[in-house]
Symmetry: C2
Subunit: 295 residues, 2 copies
Amino acid sequence: MDLRQIRYFVAVAEEEHFGRASERIRIAQPALSRQIQLLEAELGVTLFDRLPRGVKLSVAGRTFLAHCSQIMADLGHAVSETQAVARGEVGVLKLGFIEVAAWNGVIPATIMAFRDGYPGVRLVLNSLSGLEQLEGIHDGRIDAGFLYNPPPDPLLAIRPVARHTVLLAVPKDSALSGRASVDVRELVDQPVISFHRRESPVYHDELHRGLFQAGVAVDVVHEAINEAEMLALVTTGMGVALVNECQKWRPPHGIILVRVDNLDVGLDLALVYRRDHTVPALARFLALLPDQTSF
Amino acid sequence: MDLRQIRYFVAVAEEEHFGRASERIRIAQPALSRQIQLLEAELGVTLFDRLPRGVKLSVAGRTFLAHCSQIMADLGHAVSETQAVARGEVGVLKLGFIEVAAWNGVIPATIMAFRDGYPGVRLVLNSLSGLEQLEGIHDGRIDAGFLYNPPPDPLLAIRPVARHTVLLAVPKDSALSGRASVDVRELVDQPVISFHRRESPVYHDELHRGLFQAGVAVDVVHEAINEAEMLALVTTGMGVALVNECQKWRPPHGIILVRVDNLDVGLDLALVYRRDHTVPALARFLALLPDQTSF
DNA sequence: TAAAAATACTCCATAGGTATTTTAT
DNA sequence: ATAAAATACCTATGGAGTATTTTTA
């Protein structure tokens, strides 16, 4: 059997006339007759009753036509849906992100723009740590992830998205809370709440490298497991903390965030994905993602 | 596009390997590669991600595969259902019949056998007059009809089914009601309830020809429009009536049916259908219909 | 280096074309 | 007699085969 034969069959069924059908499908009448005969022979069924003036569908032919129309329509849908998926207009896109980075800026903006532009793509969003995202990207649990300071990896493509810095979180009633900015060297006499290296080694090292370069040996009074814990401890007055500037989009009650001068800490937010990624919708997402230079 | 390409695509998708797939479908690997490339070119979509050890379906390829599996399955169903319809095992069979002839005998027996043997065929049964059936057979409202004394018609096939005769319907309290049989000549002095010729001309003529041949000129006191009316009038004592012997299967209260000797009336019940009939189920029905000789 | 897919080319099966015959009213 | 489908036969497109090259981990 052959889709050509099915198309021919539908044409003859609709025209009820081999000659007219052959004109419609632009082949000669004998060629059409033969294809229909081959189809009938393969099915072992007479599809048309031959009349002196044209033909009519047989009872079995009517049954076959109903199915064929359905099949041809389904095939059309299959093609257009496959093409839509290939264009990235339909499907699923699984993204990871660092929660704090998604409170404002390029991440929510791009996600909103993508939802708008590609309503046929289901976005699956997961708030994950940087390490979890890298694992997820490798094993395919997510297609791409927004994370800070991605490690170099020949398998991964890295699209810089934004460069964030750190702010000093101080209690509202602290002596520093009224200041527009604080020089990093002023932290020498301050008790500092830091975080455990294990939770974010690249950032931890980057931060301490920045402090070392400024010649500041800080007095770490606690190592928290995340910034939320750090901020909670700052409110108790236990010390001050250097936190991601994105915390300003959700400032905790009782805490003031102050700019820190002369501390060069790079928090490079990037969209990371497999260089050999195969999800067309990801290309669409990348196209909507503003280049870092535009910030 | 081509069903062959779709079969090839499914094979490669399942094997995830052009070489193995080509063995499975018994063609050379390059031929398979080319057909897949042609399919991809026609769709404008990459269906497989080529890896160093085999291939994997792309995202769009997975979408296409899902549809293709469905389409191939539908096509299989289309073929088998079409063949079943052609064999007369599935479909619709529309039959007409004379009500009185269907109370017993070959008609209900054959219908029961057919229902049993071909549960996939929906039987549509219509109680119609002989004339209505002939019209219905001509214009396709019914595929075949059980009727009496069908007129000769080169377009129609006639399958004799049974030969019925007539009985004399007399009131229970009549002088004739105790008799095993009545000679037709005894009707000379009886008031007779007949029926209007328009309602069944062939039978009417046959009946009166039979009476004429027996030398009986009957005293017709009423011309009814059907046998039910005739029987109703017999119960009133208005007269006697010659009715189809099938009435014995549903004898009205207050009436006795008596055999009539020396009256040669042929009520030839036949199944009538278009000689060029196209309903496969009708052939099955005919095969189940006992030949008249077996009665 | 090796496994697998792609390319180059050759061949032939078969779809399609033209001329003609058969069929059924 | 006529319209339409079927048959006969020829042509050529393109599917499939063999040999070889390219690709990538």
